[in-house]
């Protein structure tokens, strides 16, 4: 073996009745990396996570997580992992601190250590002030943070996050991204699923695209973008970028794209193209898209677009 693998899956198959949810899925996730499984609803993301986290059994194929087989050695796997699902796994009627202390007791921490760990995690997730309040009073973002904190009580080495930012508003999503980036920096392996390319792009070193239970692409964000983007060259791209300077609203070297504001009608678009590329040799393709609500939101709230 050339590198330590935190997750190794081969030929995973899972069907519910006639519906084949996973169709011979292979995954390799190196230790200490952030891996994103990207796909639309119903692609099989949650099923994959549940199999890897020992909650569900594959019909065929094998998987090893943290070095242990997910079926034969599931108890050992469970001691090395944590799972944060799409729905908060917390007791609404307990306070944040009580939830964390309970998880500490279940993770076999002695009483005082469990208490210390709970306070430490509340601090780390910016929940100290809310620690003595019942979870039922928490906002969606706070709940998701506490849920993630609860999964970290036992210091797992492999962390599964199933759609960690689905249903969160944009500021909460960005906070969540910072938290996940922090986890990655601490050296644990993070396996996350997402529907958003942007999220995978921000967080993950390796991205696998899942569709209909099969992997349709795999690679770094830049590699994937290059595959779907235009085949241009970097020199032409930087020439175009330098022509617009601050007027460009979006600049991405990986996909060799430049975003420019326009109302979308023919004359201004034609003028923009002429301005960007007077010799008609640099631009390979263009597309007009409406500003997304993300753009609008970020502009109005003054947050920075990355």
């Amino acid at each position: 073996m050339t590198e330590e693998l935190a997750i190794l899956a081969s030929g995973l198959v899972k069907a519910y009745g006639d519906a084949r949810v996973l169709d011979s899925l292979d995954l390799r996730v190196p230790c200490g990396s952030v891996f994103a499984l990207l796909g639309p609803n119903g692609a099989g993301k949650t099923t994959t996570v549940r199999i890897l986290a020992t909650l569900s059994r594959a019909d065929a194929g094998q998987a090893r997580v943290a070095g242990f087989d997910v079926v034969r050695d599931r108890h050992r796997v469970r001691r090395s992992i944590s799972l944060t699902g799409q729905f908060a796994a917390l007791d609404e009627a307990q306070t944040g601190e009580e939830n964390l202390r309970m998880m500490g007791a279940l993770a076999r921490l002695p009483r005082t250590a469990a208490r210390r760990r709970a306070l430490e995690l509340l601090e780390q997730f910016d929940l100290t002030a809310a620690g003595r309040r019942r979870v039922s009073t928490y906002s969606g973002g706070m709940r998701r943070r506490l849920d993630l904190a609860a999964s970290l009580v036992g210091r797992p080495s492999v962390i599964f996050l199933d759609e960690p930012s689905t249903g969160l508003d944009l500021p909460s999503r960005q906070t969540m991204w910072e938290v996940i980036a922090g986890l990655a920096a601490s050296g644990v392996t993070v396996f996350l699923t997402t529907q958003y390319l942007e999220e995978a792009d921000r967080l993950a070193g390796q991205i696998a695209v899942l569709n209909g239970g099969r992997l349709v692409a795999q690679g770094t964000a830049a590699e994937l973008k290059r595959r779907i983007g235009t085949r241009g060259n970097g020199t032409a791209w930087s020439q175009v970028v330098s022509r617009f300077g601050d007027r460009a609203v979006h600049v991405d070297q990986a996909s060799l794209t430049v975003g420019l504001p326009t109302d979308g009608s023919a004359a201004p678009v034609r003028a923009l193209l002429d301005e960007a590329d007077p010799d008609r040799s640099l631009i390979a393709s263009f597309a007009v898209r409406e500003a997304t609500l993300d753009d609008v939101f970020l502009t109005l709230t003054g947050a920075t677009h990355v």
Partner: protein, 247 residues
């Protein structure tokens, strides 16, 4: 074992966090006693004081109602997200269920003592020795444990907390069709065989005998056998249902 203790503490804490539900659970038994003694009691002629006769029956009914709520708490856990967290932390299913059952036992102990206190307050006299009194309580609590496990199995088999609430009505039928409130001989002939031999009757008769200083005879053995059998079957059934539910 330590997981089961953690889960018991959790279940108890959750129970205290909904004071209205807790109050209902404590007051309902007292209300039932008032209903049986003062509303129905006047119409029942059984030769002895109906208050003395009915208190053990009310204790049994309260135990059944209290234990049946285990179905609801178990079902709520299974349908929420937290079960996945517990499982991914390698908490055994039996520890989760044992936590619910232990909490049910402690809740029932509290409501039983309250009912007994109220019974004494309205004129019930037991004359039982402390040992007989303790024995009666022990039989009742053993019955609570068995019925709680049965309710837990029920909670694992149904898909919603509302359906789990139905366990109570099903189990209550057993306490009505027994010697808890009226002697079996006053029941229709076709019901007597069932009423005399189903678990609620020997358990009630044992408690009644112990509290009222009457001989318990064969009832004690039958009550213990029923509780042990019910417990064994219910623990096995809920373990099986938990596996099936989480496969």
């Amino acid at each position: 074992m330590s997981d089961a203790l953690t889960m018991t503490a959790r279940s108890l804490r959750l129970a205290t966090r909904s004071p209205d539900a807790l109050l209902t659970a404590l007051l309902l038994p007292v209300m039932l006693m008032v209903v049986f003694v003062y509303l129905f009691g006047g119409a029942v002629r059984i030769g002895t004081s109906y208050l003395s006769y009915v208190v053990p029956g009310v204790l049994l009914l309260c135990a059944v109602i209290g234990a049946a709520s285990t179905a609801v708490t178990v079902c709520q856990d299974m349908t929420g997200g937290i079960i996945d967290r517990f499982r991914s932390m390698d908490v055994p299913g039996t520890a989760i269920l044992a936590g619910h059952v232990s909490a049910s036992l402690l809740r029932n102990l509290a409501s039983t003592l309250l009912v007994i206190a109220v019974a004494f307050g309205i004129g019930f006299r037991s004359h039982a020795t402390p040992a007989r009194f303790a024995a009666a309580l022990a039989v009742l609590l053993l019955f609570v444990i068995a019925v709680s496990w049965l309710a837990a199995a029920f909670g694992l088999l149904v898909s919603s907390a509302e359906a789990a609430g139905g366990a109570m009505f099903f189990l209550m039928f057993f306490s009505y069709a027994s010697s808890a409130f009226v002697p079996v001989r006053t029941l229709p002939w076709w019901l007597r065989g069932f009423a005399a031999n189903q678990p609620a009757t020997p358990v009630t008769e044992t408690i009644r005998g112990l509290l009222l200083r009457q001989p318990v005879g064969a009832h004690l053995g039958m009550a213990l056998a029923w509780c042990a059998g019910l417990l064994a079957v219910s623990v096995a059934a809920s373990t099986w249902a938990f596996r099936r539910r989480t496969a």
